[in-house]
Symmetry: C2
Subunit: 349 residues, 2 copies
């Protein structure tokens, strides 16, 4: 029921996804009457879906804490419960991001070794696709949070994007070791020391995002959110000025007409619908957030993102790496304890 | 002597600036022999310049503290001294940013009411030009720092960009009041309370940068640096993919040929040389940093930025607004003291 043109847009997405992949099965939570009505004209979606009535809806302006408390019978909550109960493999929603994260955290819990879930997405670059996280779930992060994001991003790039040895970079204001704040410098140290086979590239800067310098970009949710939205804004601006340049004169129009297939290919490369679907990573269950303003094609893509996470055992990969991470931490803890024990001895001697 | 192709590139810039504006006069600091040699083939620069020998050069990898201590006879330091001594109205350098900021801060000092200088630049948006600061001088900022950046950015938009009532926004991860960290929320409160006639728009997000939602974007140096470089990277990526789309087929090439004037106009809009020149604002003297990798046209633009700051009495404008800011602070201080006085009375009663 979430999103600008829901539930029609959502069911359009289900229709497109069901046609692309006839094995998919859907549980649709929301206003039963409306959903069944819409399904009449979406045969593939109808064949693949079971409608479950949800009396409430989370509004786009509802605060996460309120949604958590008062939204127990909302379509969003019931859909998340289906994942928590093992009835569904993943939940996809175009609704309120904060409410979705709060509920998903509450119902699904975080994976062992992950302190805080993050929001991740991948996008095209000059090399290949890059995954970036966190994009807004955690405004302030410490070195451990960033390390955990690095682990999850690396698993995603390896298991889901199929990148054999993903390179991981931390977003910073310069490449040198002494640059940046405590969190990024601390995370860099942890990544240099970890026993996990992570290919740590070091620090990267804002322009490395589009360059595709690394396969995984790790950052706090404040910086990541600003960077992603800055990039999206630039994409819109370029489209706008290119269009206006090519429609401002007869020669511009004629040239654009002749180069139309090439320009359409260019446009398609940056079609935001093809990259729709932000992943909530670090949860004990797959949860994907679609942009609220997308259409059926975009929502189908978000469903595809969820399917890819399930198929490629994304969470199993994280669990394995986190087991190593927890072992590293325990060993460091034992080392730390040993130091503590030595101090009184030294004082006594 | 700073920059990738210095000093040739710098003198190319002086040549271009001197031709555009025959009233400008230059003091060129560096290796006397080399500079005089290069000037032989740049008649306008030669006529407008006086060469001053500087035995040392700050390297691009030198740490700011080292440059400050050991660089007293460097071309960079002597050029800054010329502003400090009142011999020059502004200094423009394509050298090491950190060293330039450290030396400029040491020699010129900050303006009254400004705790920390910032790096600012302006760029094209979908509306008009927007100025953004800080872009990297201050990795961590508190609410007062951000307020001071807002004041300086507002003066720039008004006095230099000619925007009558500039709208000021603080970069954040959402528009709602409760979003973001303590610094941005605190700065928003200060901007709502100030007696300065600043048109405070509220929080803006990353995509508002390209949209031109506000005329002044205030942010800490970490976020600002990442956002600016992300935008630059996106611009390169778009250029790259557009070129490759238009050269990948015969029709693409033909269309591009016919639409060439329109495409060149589009390209020019985003020519980074036309926006070269980052301003160090908040110092008691004008200091502009050119990109090290630019050419003569770009360096001439950085000179133009410095000239605009001088001509439009940028620092005088800041001083006036800061006087008000300091008065606000004093009043708040008196209010605070009054509260302190009342408390013991209440305790005694």
């Amino acid at each position: 029921m979430g999103g600008d043109n829901a539930p029609d847009m959502v069911i359009d997405g289900v229709e497109a996804a069901a046609r692309q992949n006839p094995k998919l099965r859907f549980l649709l939570y929301g206003d039963e009457t409306r959903l069944n009505d819409i399904l009449q004209s979406r045969p593939a979606a109808m064949a693949a879906s079971e409608v479950r009535h949800a009396p409430d809806v989370i509004g786009s302006g509802d605060k996460p804490a309120v949604a958590l408390r008062a939204g127990r019978q909302s379509s969003m909550r019931l859909a998340i419960n289906a994942v928590g109960d093992g009835e569904a493999d993943a939940v996809v929603s175009a609704g309120n991001t904060g409410a979705l994260m709060a509920m998903a955290k509450f119902v699904l819990k975080t994976l062992p070794g992950i302190d805080r879930p993050a929001i991740a997405t991948y996008f095209p670059t000059m090399r290949r696709e890059t995954v970036m996280l966190d994009l807004g779930a955690n405004i302030e992060c410490d070195a451990d949070n960033l390390l955990q994001f690095a682990v999850m991003g690396e698993v995603f790039a390896r298991n889901v994007l199929g990148c054999e040895h993903p390179r991981v970079g931390i977003l910073n204001v310069g490449a040198e070791d002494m640059k940046g704040n405590q969190a990024v410098r601390g995370a860099a140290e942890l990544l240099q020391q970890t026993n996990l086979p992570i290919r740590f590239h070091g620090f990267v800067e804002g322009d490395d995002i589009a360059k595709g310098t690394v396969d995984v970009i790790v950052t706090d949710g404040f910086t990541g959110n600003v960077a992603l939205k800055t990039a999206e804004g630039m994409a819109s601006m370029f489209g706008h000025f290119l269009r206006s340049a090519l429609t401002s004169s007869v020669f511009g129009k004629l040239g654009a007409l002749i180069a139309r297939p090439a320009l359409l290919q260019f446009k398609k490369k940056f079609d935001p619908r093809l990259y729709n679907g932000a992943m909530f990573v670090g949860l004990n269950g797959i949860c994907v957030k679609s942009h609220g303003g997308t259409d059926g094609i975009g929502f189908a893509n978000a469903i595809g993102v969820a399917v890819n996470l399930v198929r490629n055992n994304f969470n199993e990969g994280i669990k394995e790496d986190c087991a190593q991470l927890l072992e590293d931490r325990d060993n460091a803890q034992i080392g730390g304890d040993a130091d503590d024990v030595e101090k009184p001895e030294a004082a006594a001697s």
